[in-house]
Amino acid sequence: MAVQVQAADIAQRAELDFAGILKRAAVAGLVTFLLTIGLVGFETVSSTGQLRLHTRFEAVAFAVAAVFVSYVCFEFLRARRPMIPLVVGAVAALVLLIPLVTGDPDLQWMLPFEAETLDWAALVVPLLLVGRALQLATAARARATGRQPPAVLGRIGVAFRRLTPLIGAALLGFAIVLPFLPFADRRLIDICTLVLTYIMLGWGLNIVVGLAGLLDLGYVAFYAVGAYSYALLSTTFGLSFWVCLPLAGALAALFGILLGFPVLRLRGDYLAIVTLGFGEMIRIVLINWWWFTGGPNGINNVERPSFFGLPFDRSPPEGTESFHTFFGLDYSPNHRVFFLYFLILACALITNFFTLRIRKLPLGRAWEALREDETACRALGINPTNTKLTAFAFGAMFAGFAGSFFAARQGFVSPESFVFIESAVILAIVVLGGLGSQVGIVLAAIVLIGIPEFFRELKDYRMLAFGLGMVLIMIWRPGGLLGRRDPTIRLHAAGEGAEQKRR
């Protein structure tokens, strides 16, 4: 056996044909040239009403060279000849790292870009290339030795799922004590509040997409309904946050039913595009129905939430008390920030609790069954439209809660906050987390929202990296970071039937 493997190994080593590799690498280089020559090679600059062209051919040349060289290196790695790639990698690392680390202006010519921020691309792209190279090298080794590489990630995923309750509890404990930890400054809490908002939205959308299997690309519409409900109710009727919160949820759920009723008979992709259309329609209406919604300017001076009636003002009006006077504390603007943090934490936990419980109720079971096989469900007497409608309404309700929290936290609402990209981000959180996995959503929200939030300075590159990250994670782990969640209850032992089906 061992001899055979070695023979195969040697045969594979001998097979390397340079002409073929060079040809394919040249094709890859040509494709890169065609991709970059237009948009990278020429920059259109407006000057005095006319467009001028600046050229950036050096960037094109750099890209083509990089693709050509890395393609050749990858081919060598595939054939298990790591020498040349290692040398190339070392040289490239030297050339790129020395000027970046030292910051010596005399060495700047080694970097491919003129703009300083773009130099970071010179780090990120090589890192991606190195990652791919490692992956190729292990795969080639496994192929040659006939041994499967240990599916590390898969195993981590399985272990993770087994440990989910523990990890969930740990995360929850951490979330509760976080504001009292010494390193928790206002910025961190603000970011965590934002992440929690997205976690809540993710959990809400998970009811629709993860449990019921309905692809909703316009989830942000319900978020908008919730936000505007609170803003309008509070500015028009002076209702408090605690009265508006359930109302906003109810209104959003009502919208979910109204929108869902005509379209839930549609299947998969049609539903996706119609919900996308609804999302855009609501935004257009918000922009243009100016006397009601304030148009593009939105609604300002929305009342901030109070601590069950106690406002967080520094100096409350005569005869009333505010939070800090009632509890005899010194005034601190952090009180409001911490309160908002705990408020959204509580809302998110309610969403999570709801999901965990409803999975065990007939309704939740029906959702999961519907996701797995609609035809079979119909045969078993489940009314698909009504069942889907409830999922849609519940999902919308939680978006409504999150929306009114958002309005209360910001103090203003405007249509700009409810663009399609928000829906895409929320959906990405759900899918990247592994459909239906509650902890996965937390991780995905931290990865997608929290981490980029710390890189605000690189604002322009944030969305670029976000899009790229979505593509890469999908290619790398199509089932999401933690893998897909199996139905709560099934005939086969957990995993067995599903594994077979997936293959």
């Binding site: 065609l34 237009g38 948009l39 467009l51 595009i273 035809t375 459909l435």
Partner: protein, 304 residues
């Protein structure tokens, strides 16, 4: 009456552009059953390539308009088709055998990536281009209102009709078209019969991107200003058009495109410009409720 005629002309030329983009959606959906979310951005990239090609030709001193148009068309189609090919190769092919949601998310990510890279590389401001084909023919002049059809609109309709003819012939008559139709019906069977699936799907993306590039060129010429966000709205509308006409059906995509163009033009003219997109989506919802397979689509047969 004159006003109506004018809106009809405007709507038809707008619809022709939507139709060209919609073909890209409908072909991809037909063959691999996914919404190619990045297609609208491919169209936007086509528009940018046309703009840049025009500027380069201007620098080189080419002033003969038909020649310039031909050169720009070739360049834009070539470069944009490369984008179509690469997107499929990089973002969709590795996911072909995974869940239905994975390629969609990947496509959304690709769309965000393309949009933002164009914004970073070319700037966020709108890019104006001087009118290349000025002038118009007056069809009817009643004294108060003159119905005009601009040369640009004539070009749009002529190009669309000829492309559609070539395209239909290609799908119905050539080996490639037959391979595509075979892949649409049953990929495994097609591959057993010697059809190269990967190649056929790649070519589908290349054709879709080429048509989107033509649409991009025409939008650049027609409106005279483009920006990086152009692809999103146009993409949604074109997809709406594809669903309206019956997704998977090529004449359906063209019909849907023209209908969406007409709805938009008439709604803007007789009701309100602001709500023209709402009108287009409203019609889509109505059609899907009463005829879920679209106007010209075949109803899906469910198998247990």
């Amino acid at each position: 009456m004159e006003y109506f005629l004018q809106q009809l002309i405007n709507g038809l030329s707008l619809g022709a552009i939507y139709g060209l983009i919609a073909i890209g959606y409908t072909m991809v959906y037909g063959i691999i059953g996914m919404i190619n979310f990045a297609h609208g951005d491919i169209f936007m990239i086509g528009a940018f390539h046309s703009l840049i090609a025009f500027l380069v030709l201007g620098l080189l001193g080419v002033s003969f308009v038909p020649l310039a148009l031909m050169v720009v068309l070739v360049i834009a189609v070539l470069l944009t088709a490369t984008y179509g090919w690469t997107v499929e190769r990089v973002a969709y092919r590795p996911l072909r055998r995974s869940t239905r949601l994975a390629p969609l998310i990947s496509a959304i990510g690709m769309s965000i990536f393309l949009q933002n890279s164009v914004q970073l590389l070319q700037g966020a401001r709108g890019k104006p281009l001087v009118s290349v084909i000025p002038g118009a023919i007056t069809l009817v002049d009643s004294g108060t209102f003159a119905v005009q059809i601009s040369y640009m609109q004539i070009v749009i309709m002529l190009v669309t009709v000829s492309l559609m003819t070539v395209f239909t012939l290609m799908i119905t008559r050539t080996t490639l078209g037959r391979a595509q139709r075979a892949c649409e019906q049953d990929q495994r069977m097609a591959s057993l019969l010697g059809v190269n699936i990967d190649r056929t799907i790649s070519i589908t993306f290349v054709i879709g991107a080429s048509l989107a590039a033509v649409a991009g060129l025409m939008v650049t010429l027609y409106y005279g200003i483009i920006d990086f966000y152009l692809g999103f709205v146009a993409g949604i509308k074109a997809f709406t058009a594809a669903v309206l006409g019956g997704i998977g059906s090529l004449p359906g995509a063209m019909l849907g495109g023209i209908l969406i163009g007409l709805i938009e033009a008439f709604w803007s003219a007789y009701f309100s410009v602001e709500y023209k997109d709402v009108a287009a989506f409203g019609v889509l919802v109505l059609v899907l409720i009463f005829r879920p397979s679209g106007l010209l689509g075949r109803p899906e047969v469910e198998k247990v």
